[in-house]
């Protein structure tokens, strides 16, 4: 029983992180149909921002998590800059494939740029303890407060995002842009501004994900976003990319599969099972668990 609980809690812990990161992927994809591979690296940017601002918070006597607001600011700026400098010019000239390759290039560029900054450098950095330890104890197994908080934040973010895209003017503009770009221009929607806003929100999500990630796994390094981003991307695809609740579902499925494989099958087979599940789900339901098959618009 305690093994099962322990495994479940580890799965939830991993899953909550994947879900939070996957929300960022799915958000951007939902609006501009671009898989933003640099999203994982935005998390790295957020992580380093917090590493450098936490000492300031300590000096000011503020709680350490307040530094997430600075991280949100920095990430949003980096996200908007990426859109303005890289994605927009490429989108204008090329196809969706060019945009995809650009996203991969931006990802590598961010990783290597970060490494070239002397204050960051190649060495991993270890974050301070952000939230107090402890949690709920069931049958001698602890579910950390941080995990519960991550799950709550993911749910809140999911609900807000969903309501935002359904109810607000900007949100409706985003959905219009995603459905038909030329028509939304005719309707008087500023497409470029809408897309920049999308990137700002998506990148801010990366900063929140970075906070929850380093609260549980306190190591920050320049390539931290690559594996994390890949798993979260898989989660988004598994749940149905572009569908906001799907990202959360996918994140938890991946986390739980990883954890249960480690405990009950073989501890070195976790990743193999994650990707096996992905293939099986995509064979049965190509659009993802919550995805609907929609015909290509002509």
């Amino acid at each position: 029983m305690s093994t099962f609980l322990q495994t479940l809690f580890v799965g939830l812990r991993l899953g909550s992180i994947y879900a939070l990161v996957a929300l960022g992927y799915t958000m951007v994809y939902g609006i501009i149909r671009l898989i933003n591979f640099a999203h994982g690296d935005f998390i790295m940017v957020g992580g380093y921002t917090m590493i450098f601002t936490v000492p300031v918070m300590i000096a000011l006597g503020l709680p350490l998590w307040v530094s997430v607001f600075l991280a949100i600011l920095v990430c949003a700026l980096v996200g908007m800059a990426t859109e303005l400098v890289a994605y927009r010019p490429v989108r204008k000239k090329g196809t969706s494939m060019t945009a995809l390759i650009t996203a991969i290039a931006v990802s590598l560029l961010l990783e290597n740029l970060a490494q070239a900054i002397p204050q960051i450098g190649p060495n991993p950095k270890v974050a301070n303890k952000i939230f107090a330890a402890g949690g709920i104890r069931i049958a001698n197994v602890t579910l950390d407060w941080t995990t519960i908080l991550t799950i709550c934040i993911s749910v809140i973010v999911m609900v807000i995002l969903y309501q935002f895209t359904q109810k607000t003017k900007i949100g409706r503009a985003m959905r219009c842009v995603s459905e038909d770009k030329p028509a939304s221009i005719l309707m008087g929607i500023n497409v470029n501004r809408t897309i920049v806003t999308t990137f700002a929100i998506g990148s801010s999500l990366a900063a929140i994900a970075a906070l929850m990630y380093i609260a549980q796994y306190p190591k920050v390094y320049t390539t931290m976003g690559s594996i994390l981003g890949l798993k979260a991307f898989v989660a988004a695809v598994l749940g149905g990319i572009g569908i906001i609740p799907g990202a959360m579902l996918g994140g938890f499925v991946i986390g739980l599969v990883e954890s249960f494989t480690t405990s009950y099958v073989s501890s070195s087979m976790a990743d193999a099972f994650v990707f096996l599940i992905l293939i099986i789900v995509l064979i049965i339901k190509p659009a993802g668990i919550l995805g609907k098959n929609m015909g290509e618009k002509v």
Partner: protein, 416 residues
């Protein structure tokens, strides 16, 4: 304006691609005047005349200067710089000054081979490197083919050196390092032990194998074995929960400092594991990688094996520690000590051989009569495999809750 931005973008893209493809040559830097033509071409043709006297001797260095293990890269290059500056200040080797060409392997086997090839193409015949077993194993074959002497400071995997070739190491091998851990478990009175290791890493897997072999010899019972598929794994809770349910009080976990500090120790304690966590030389540097503000008493009861201890009162050790601290402002770790010894081993071998020609240096190193006294002990390559016979120290971490320090537990000269 638009044109300009897209032009910049293309440039940035091109640069990132080039940066990936050509890291090895780009990362190659000569600290002193590159003396490619001064060193003799590697002994592809061993009948060539040895390098003329008074031309500098060039040592190549391959180390992970960037990437996850950059601490080790800096440890090696700092120690080599120290040793070479000492040697050059004292008149060089056989009256020749020593040059160093440093390359970066990024803790990536493919980049290690690139770095090696770039050194060979610059005519380097004597190389210190690489640091990790995984990277070094990528170039041992090439070193034998090219006839280039490879002296790794710290690659401990048994498979790195084999009989009658150009590959040597300054450290002991894993079959010894894993055995010390098993020996310690037995002498501390543990009979049931567990192992958590990384199945995809040469170092971690090699240590697990040697620990398991020695455990059989010492009559230890390995009750639980768990593994991880990569060194990028962040969560080790399930693995240690399995150790708890099997009831073991001694777990051998051969990982590197960047996993031990932030992840393994705290997660193991959170999973309810209170017994001994034992590791190997990869734990060196852990105190700089612990989470500030967390309960660091988790680090009590963590033991590890290492090559030397900076508090050793041996005059050679104290002289090295003082010189290193004066030059770099920090206490040298074991990798530094081994890299420092590696340079002096080359010096001794070149002096014994009377030339810096790779084949001659190889023979001088392999000669069992060549006894070397260094920071990490007094030893010779008296088995044919290019691994020295030397002792080890057992260290432990101690914590008052807010910081972690290292203390010496035992010095083991040989296994009984």
């Amino acid at each position: 304006m638009r044109k300009l931005i897209s032009l910049l973008l293309v440039l940035a893209l091109a640069m990132s691609v080039v940066a990936c493809a050509a890291t090895a040559p780009a990362a190659t830097e000569a600290t002193e005047a590159p003396a490619a033509e001064a060193t003799e071409a590697p002994a592809a043709d061993a009948t060539e005349a040895p390098a003329a006297l008074n031309e500098p001797i060039t040592l190549g260095v391959i180390s992970p200067n960037t990437g996850a293990l950059a601490v080790y890269g800096a440890a090696v290059t700092n120690a080599v710089d120290l040793a070479v500056s000492e040697i050059n200040a004292a008149g060089g080797i056989l009256g020749q000054q020593v040059n160093v060409i440093k390359t970066d392997d990024q803790f990536d086997p493919a980049e290690t081979l690139n770095a090696f090839n770039s050194l060979v193409s610059q005519g380097v015949g004597l190389i210190v490197g690489s640091v990790t077993s995984g990277c070094t194993s990528a170039i041992t074959g090439a070193a034998n083919e090219e006839g280039v002497v490879l002296l790794t400071p710290s690659a401990t995997a048994d498979s790195i050196t084999t009989a009658d070739d150009y590959v040597f190491r300054a450290c002991y091998a894993d079959s010894f390092q894993g055995a010390i851990a098993a020996y310690y478990a037995k002498s501390a009175g543990y009979t049931d032990v567990g192992v958590v290791y990384c199945a995809a890493d040469t170092y971690s897997k090699g240590l697990y194998d040697s620990f398991a072999a020695a455990a059989a010899t010492y009559g230890l019972n390995i009750k639980a074995v768990e593994s991880t598929a990569s060194l990028d794994v962040q969560d080790y809770t399930n693995q240690f929960a399995s150790m708890v349910s099997s009831g073991v009080q001694f777990v051998y976990a051969p990982y590197y400092y960047d996993v031990i500090g932030p992840y393994i120790v705290t997660q193991a304690r959170a999973a309810g594991y209170t017994g001994i966590i034992m590791g190997a030389d990869g734990y060196d540097g852990t105190p700089d990688y612990v989470v500030e503000g967390a309960d660091l008493t988790a680090f009590n009861n963590v033991y590890w094996t290492n090559h030397y201890d900076p508090t050793d009162t041996d005059p050679l050790v104290q002289k090295f520690v003082a010189a290193y601290t004066a030059m770099w402002g920090s206490t040298p770790n074991a990798i530094s000590a081994l890299a420092y010894d590696a340079v002096y081993m080359y010096k001794l071998a070149i002096e014994n051989a009377g030339s810096a020609e790779p084949a001659a240096v190889r023979d001088a190193l392999a000669n069992p009569a060549t006894t070397f006294s260094g920071v990490t002990g007094t030893f010779a390559f008296n088995d044919v495999t290019g691994t020295p016979s030397k002792g080890a120290v057992i260290l432990s971490f101690a914590s008052d809750g807010t910081s972690v320090t290292t203390k010496l537990v035992d010095v083991i000269k040989e296994l009984k």
